[in-house]
Symmetry: C2
Subunit: 146 residues, 2 copies
Amino acid sequence: MYRNDGFLELGRQECLRRLSTADVGRVVFTRDALPAVLPVHFSVDGDGAVLLRTSAASEMARAVDGAVIAFEADEVDAAAHSGWSVVVTGPASVVTDPVDRQRLIRTGPRSWVARPADLFVRIEPELVTGHELRGGQDSYGVSWPP
Amino acid sequence: MYRNDGFLELGRQECLRRLSTADVGRVVFTRDALPAVLPVHFSVDGDGAVLLRTSAASEMARAVDGAVIAFEADEVDAAAHSGWSVVVTGPASVVTDPVDRQRLIRTGPRSWVARPADLFVRIEPELVTGHELRGGQDSYGVSWPP
């Protein structure tokens, strides 16, 4: 429902639907005890898990494997003062199961360069939250672009 | 310089220049011991500090005040497999100095709704890093959108 601050909380299914319309999101993790954020291409698995494809040498993959991380995607229309943001929070892990790996090589996020050694990182959709913004302000009271 | 993965590390001044071209970035903080990420409108202060304007009731402002957080802005061209991302990491604080506050009300990030009680949050640019992406892969080996 809309709050009087113009913020509409989105349900889990709507969050996952919007997530699936985005090409790029941001993985939020900890590196050297500092917050780190990295834009990445991704896809959404059947169960709502976020799938990243990265090289075997990926520093990010090492940093997130086994950690609870956040993944965010958004779309903001600066002119219309509107937009949405979805955050998936859950444990991330490098996909090691050979069968799952083969499936993701076929159906997972595409790599721009073919790299057979690619790793897939899976973020479990334990917590899926999102909001739509109308009228230039969100639930945090943060101003949106005029 | 370019690495063979098509990733160009950006210097501090170039990072701040690109940051100043963006309307919306993402503040990365911790809420209830979980990573949180929130898209916000922002501006860059003369010294490179990131300035956010938020309501006095902002949950985010309370969460980041006194904490070391990350702030990220990016621009990705999915068709061209290119883009850039800049991250400012440093201590965040709510601006309490009356003179600084008056200055920011005049020159800081605009609020879509006029709210005299607005808080300003300042993120010190202690660490400013960024990279430009060409050829669909970044320093983390993360695939970019085809």
